[in-house]
């Protein structure tokens, strides 16, 4: 008896619920009904992007004073042989922190200038990962004869002689040494630049608003992504782009060889050589200038140089990707459309010297799907950056 009553009540409630759903106001296109539970789980794994991971080898990584000094150095052309080159010469904030070229026409470089957006999330720096921290990375272009062509002694002398730089330096690191020792203060300049780079974050894109909407089942927010971009997101998930461009920064931070033909020079060993270079760098995380050599060692000691490392380059982030063309390690593709065409057809793919990525098969996308995938990639742009970070310190 009781049970029958319960069933009847339940059935009534159910009917009421159904009725309510039928007669409720027409829902706006909310953007999440079209995704399966599995797709929703995958979507949420890409957002939100938290703060950059700590760098225990850099004690000043999160000090505002260090970031300010780093920003001064970043835009200062005096840190170069002829006083004509700053980091911003090649990493131009107006060009997605790149130079807008496939390969530089001004400098004899054989790799595309990567973006600095979200560089603080890297595990390895450079296309071949030959630097194990942002601060050791920053020291290399300063002394590279094909870039700044400067010397550490001159960099230290410049800071010592310039009241503004010196004041900013001493506020963070204490008294500037007067002796000839240049390595320590030089390393400190790298740590300051790295502190600045930790502020170059791209994490509030239309996609992130959409993901918030999906999580909270809030149709207004989920509407932040256009229908075309949502279709592109489906393609992105189906195509398994996320097996390499995974996680909230859309990269595994590791190395792969897509078989894209070189624009200049022959195939390069890339990661295969980069591992030995990272281990040999006197400014690496386990060296004398690291603020926690144990943490640096944990990262470097287990690295494997395998035959398949040959030719591998680092997976770039896809955040802000619409701003960072040309694409790939030698700028082989001028537009996102060209990138998507490559993944779709694999035309011109060369045999890998090391290890062909087995999961890469031509996607054979229909034109509408290819356009949708581009629209999705464009939805990863964040326009909310603090303008004060994109120019020299006032």
């Amino acid at each position: 008896m009781k049970r029958a009553l319960f069933v009847a009540l339940f059935a009534g409630a159910l009917a009421g619920a159904l009725l309510f759903m039928r007669t409720g106001p027409a829902r706006p296109a909310s953007g999440f009904e079209e995704f399966t539970a599995e797709e929703v789980e995958a979507i949420l794994s890409h957002s939100p992007l938290g703060p950059p991971p700590p760098d225990p080898t850099n004690a000043v990584a999160d000090q505002p004073g260090a970031a300010r000094l780093g920003q001064m150095v970043f835009f200062d052309k005096r840190f170069s042989r002829e006083g004509t080159v700053s980091c911003a010469t090649c990493h131009d904030p107006a060009k997605g922190f790149g130079d807008g070229e496939a390969l530089s026409t001004r400098f004899p470089l054989d790799r595309n200038v990567p973006t600095l957006w979200n560089t603080a999330y890297n595990r390895w720096w450079f296309w071949d990962g030959r630097a194990d921290s942002a601060w050791s990375q920053a020291l290399q272009p300063l002394e590279n004869p094909r870039e700044h062509g400067f010397r550490r002694e001159h960099a230290v002398r410049l800071v010592r002689a310039d009241a503004r730089l010196r004041g900013a330096y001493e506020a963070v690191f204490g008294p500037m040494p007067e002796g000839p020792e240049a390595d320590r203060p030089f390393a400190n300049l790298g740590k300051a630049v790295a502190a600045y780079e930790r502020k170059l974050l791209s994490r509030r894109s239309a996609f992130d608003v959409f993901a918030e909407g999906v999580r909270a089942r809030d149709p207004a927010k989920a509407g932040a992504l256009s229908a075309e971009a949502r279709q592109g997101l489906k393609v992105f998930l189906r195509a398994q782009c996320r097996s390499c461009h995974g996680g909230p920064n859309f990269t595994d931070g590791e190395f792969h060889d897509l078989g894209i033909a070189p624009l200049r020079g022959g195939p390069a060993p890339s990661r295969h050589a980069g591992i030995a270079l990272a281990k040999a760098d006197p400014f690496n995380g386990k060296g004398a200038f690291s603020d926690r050599p144990g943490a640096g060692a944990a990262k470097l000691d287990f690295l494997a140089v395998r035959p398949e490392s040959w030719g591998q380059v680092k997976t770039p982030t896809l955040r802000n990707v619409a701003k960072t063309g040309p694409y790939m390690h030698q700028g082989q593709f001028a537009t996102l459309r060209a990138v998507v065409r490559f993944y779709s057809t694999m035309d011109g793919r060369i045999a890998s010297a090391g290890h062909a990525e087995a999961i890469l098969a031509p996607l054979r996308l229909a034109p509408t799907e290819a356009a949708a995938l581009v629209a999705f990639l464009e939805s990863l742009t964040d326009e909310s950056a603090d303008a004060g970070l994109l120019k020299p310190v006032e």
Binding site: E38, E41, A42, S45, R242, S243, C244, G246, G247, D252, G253, E254, F255, A298, D301, F302, L303, A304, R306, E308, S309, H355, E357, A358, I359
Partner: protein, 126 residues
């Protein structure tokens, strides 16, 4: 995917095993049983972790190697883990990192007197 404790021995999803997060696997010829857990648990995607395990029957001269590969991609980790004995006699594999989402095969090769057996389990990363 997550929470499904079916065919895939989901170390990553953290199901099965006697203790929290512990997983038992037999070697291919059945000589050994390996009881292992990960630190942290479950195995995180694209973050360093360690494996701690015991081998039964144990012997002082067992040689143990740990590796992980992705069968669909024909490649493994970008690292070579180091296996050592802990004071309590268990083994510890340091330096593990599974950088891609998907199915990984975790292998533990146990050798004694020139004979090697393999204990293998799958890890599914979301």
């Amino acid at each position: 995917m997550r929470g499904a404790c079916a065919a895939v021995l989901a170390l990553a999803a953290g199901c099965g095993g006697s203790e929290a997060g512990e997983r038992r696997i037999a070697s291919n010829l059945g000589t050994y049983t390996v009881s292992l857990r990960s630190i942290p648990h479950p195995i995180p995607a694209n973050e360093p972790f360690e494996l701690v395990f015991r081998v039964a029957p144990d012997a002082p001269d067992l040689a143990v190697e740990v590796d992980a590969r992705m069968p669909q991609h024909f490649h493994g980790m970008n690292r070579v883990p180091r296996v050592s004995r802990r004071p309590d006699g268990s083994f510890r594999a340091e330096g593990m990192l599974l950088h891609m989402s998907g199915r990984w095969e975790l292998t533990i090769d146990i050798s004694q007197g020139g004979r090697t057996e393999r204990a293998q389990t799958d890890v599914e990363l979301p």
